[in-house]
């Protein structure tokens, strides 16, 4: 899995983001959805494509809602909100962000992570892919780590120069701690401390306390 993720990361750095809707996506929407729902959805998808946003996540959201028998209004609302999330992710991550980064960023925003945290992550890793940090951040939030703690943990690890495999290992350690019964907050703090102690260029003293983003409580 780690090898796959590493390979994926390399390819994602090279692969251009697909930022336009295509006819096959519209055809899939028309095939699976009622015309009265497919038509406004396609408008949202086309609008996103015109803005240079990735459209595949929007189509996936719509089909996800359809497969789980969600109501038309709920599907349309969810797709619109995710399109807004993609736009917000691009604002935070910059216009050069890849499609997968925007998708991961929108997912984090939907989970409650503020735009500021995404922008801070971008500043911490200006040239590298943020897919894995954002995936790890969303994972922490989904596992019950408070948003502020999750953001600080990922941001501190990224600022310390932790590579993606190290971030994934930290995620696994924190997950194990939570499964053992530790509180998510404490588990994330300990997981970060372990990572920082093993990351070259960071002192043990720095890793002994949870770093805080400037200007944040």
């Amino acid at each position: 899995m780690r090898r796959l993720l590493a390979l994926a990361l390399a390819s994602l750095l090279l692969a251009p983001g697909r930022a336009s809707g295509d006819e096959s996506e519209e055809a899939r929407l028309r095939a699976r959805l009622k015309p009265e729902l497919a038509t406004p959805l396609i408008e949202v998808v086309r609008s996103a494509a015109a803005q240079g946003l990735p459209t595949a996540p929007l189509v996936a959201r719509a089909l996800e809602g359809a497969s789980r028998q969600a109501g038309d209004a709920a599907i349309l609302d969810a797709v619109r909100r995710y399109a807004a999330g993609l736009a917000a992710a691009r604002r935070a991550l910059g216009s050069t962000a890849r499609a997968a980064e925007l998708d991961a960023g929108a997912g984090a925003l939907m989970a409650g992570v503020p735009e500021d945290s995404l922008a801070s992550l971008k500043r911490a890793r200006p040239s590298g892919s943020l897919v894995i940090p954002l995936v790890v951040l969303s994972d922490f939030v989904a596992r019950g780590v408070p948003v502020a703690n999750a953001s600080n943990a990922v941001l501190a690890a990224t600022r310390a120069g932790a590579a993606d495999p190290a971030l994934l290992r930290m995620r696994e350690r924190i997950h194990e701690r939570i499964l053992r019964g530790e509180a998510p907050t404490g588990a994330s703090r300990e997981g970060l401390r372990e990572l920082l102690m093993k990351t070259p260029g960071t002192s043990k003293e720095r890793g002994s306390r949870e770093p805080r983003e400037k200007g944040r409580p």
């Binding site: 993720l5 595949a56 497969s67 709920a74 696994e172």
Partner: protein, 379 residues
């Protein structure tokens, strides 16, 4: 017709106790819980045949019952039964120390269950505690809130009975004495009897406690409320101690050969018990490992390792969230190969028709409609 004595007292208490236990249990974790009424899990819990001896309020009694499971999917014994419909054909014979009469009963039960709930449908004919049922139909539902489960069911059937009535009464005097020339005829008193019942069952280690109560309505009898508490203790792999306190009508026992209509104490021996300690445990499939491998042809093989599963499905954004069946490849591994475009993907798996879940080891993300999903990054 022999009428079973029913004590109306106790049902309110049993129901109250059940509600309290259910409320308490609703906060408990339901992981790896052996679900379903014990009498439905007979072939799994204690093997296909069991012999029981005991004493009740009236007499000593014995019984032998056997069940042959015919899987409408996979064989029932020692396999996961979640999502499968299983037809169980049963036969039981019972007798008492003071009578040569034998109660012989045949049953056929269809049992279908998911991980934490299920239902059953049955048909039965034969005797039970002296009452002969021409035909009985039963159906029920159960739901588990580990370690407690709640069950509700209804059993309806024609209970056979006959009485002798004098058709001609006369005493004829002859030369020395009077002679009784009365003649009798058998009158069929068979009547429809319906029992609605509910039970709360509590699993505690090797012990299973049950509070069951109900209402029996018969065409020729007044409505009868009844309640009974029972305890099954797995003393060893092959032996169980059974105890019951309270009354329940024989008409409600059509599908539970080990149950008795009166307060009783008994021992059941199952020579072919299949589980160490005999604890009735349904194997619950659990996903343990996930792998994704890139193939030379550009497709990606996703593999999932899970024990005791008989059906594994995958749904993801790259399947347009339509479930696709994975193929068993041995050693508890299931796999499927798909063309997955590079990028970020969300994926879920489902075992034996249960809830969709995050594949083990994958980062988690919350989805608006699908719940939590695993994140897969593909080259």
């Amino acid at each position: 017709m022999r009428r079973t004595s029913i004590r109306p007292l106790g049902m309110a208490g049993a129901i109250g106790l059940g509600l309290a236990l259910a409320a308490w249990a609703s906060t408990a974790c339901a992981e790896d819980f052996a679900a379903g009424p014990e009498w439905l899990r007979v072939p799994i819990a204690r093997g296909p045949v069991a012999a029981t001896v005991g004493v009740d309020e009236r007499r000593a009694w014995w019984g032998i019952d056997g069940t042959v499971p015919l899987g409408l999917g996979l064989p029932r014994t020692r396999t996961n039964v979640v999502g499968q419909s299983v037809l169980g054909l049963g036969m039981s014979i019972a007798g008492s120390a003071r009578s040569d009469a034998r109660d012989l009963r045949y049953t056929a039960l269809i049992d279908r269950r998911s991980r934490l709930d299920g239902g059953w449908l049955g048909i039965s004919t034969g005797g039970n505690d002296g009452q002969h049922a021409k035909l009985q139909l039963g159906a029920g539902l159960w739901r588990a809130f580990a370690p407690v489960e709640v069950e509700a069911g209804i059993v309806s059937g024609v209970v056979g009975a006959s009485s002798r009535e004098a058709s001609h009464w006369k005493v004829v005097p002859d030369s020395l004495h009077s002679r009784d020339t009365t003649t009798f005829r058998d009158v069929d008193r068979s009547a429809l009897s319906t029992t609605a019942q509910s039970a709360v069952r509590w699993h505690f280690g090797r012990m299973e406690l049950t509070a069951i109560g109900g209402l029996t309505v018969g065409a020729r009898t007044a409505p009868q409320r009844w309640a009974q508490a029972s305890m099954h203790l797995q003393a060893s792999k092959r032996m169980r101690v059974l105890a019951a306190f309270g009354q329940r009508p024989a008409a409600s026992l059509a599908f539970e050969p080990a149950a008795r209509p009166q307060t009783m104490l008994g021992i059941q021996v199952a020579p072919w018990a299949s589980h160490e300690g005999g604890a009735p445990h349904v194997t619950v499939p659990v996903a343990r490992q996930w792998r994704a491998e890139l193939l030379d042809d550009g497709r990606t093989t996703v593999r999932l390792r899970c024990r005791h599963a008989s059906r594994v499905e995958l749904a993801a954004d790259f399947t347009d969230w339509a479930p696709i069946a994975m193929t068993a490849t041995g050693d508890d591994w299931w796999e499927t190969s798909l063309t997955i475009t590079p990028g970020l993907h969300q994926v879920q798996v489902r075992l034996d028709g249960g809830a969709w879940q995050v594949p083990p080891g994958l980062p988690r993300t919350s989805r608006e409609f699908a719940g939590d999903a695993g994140v897969l990054v593909v080259n």
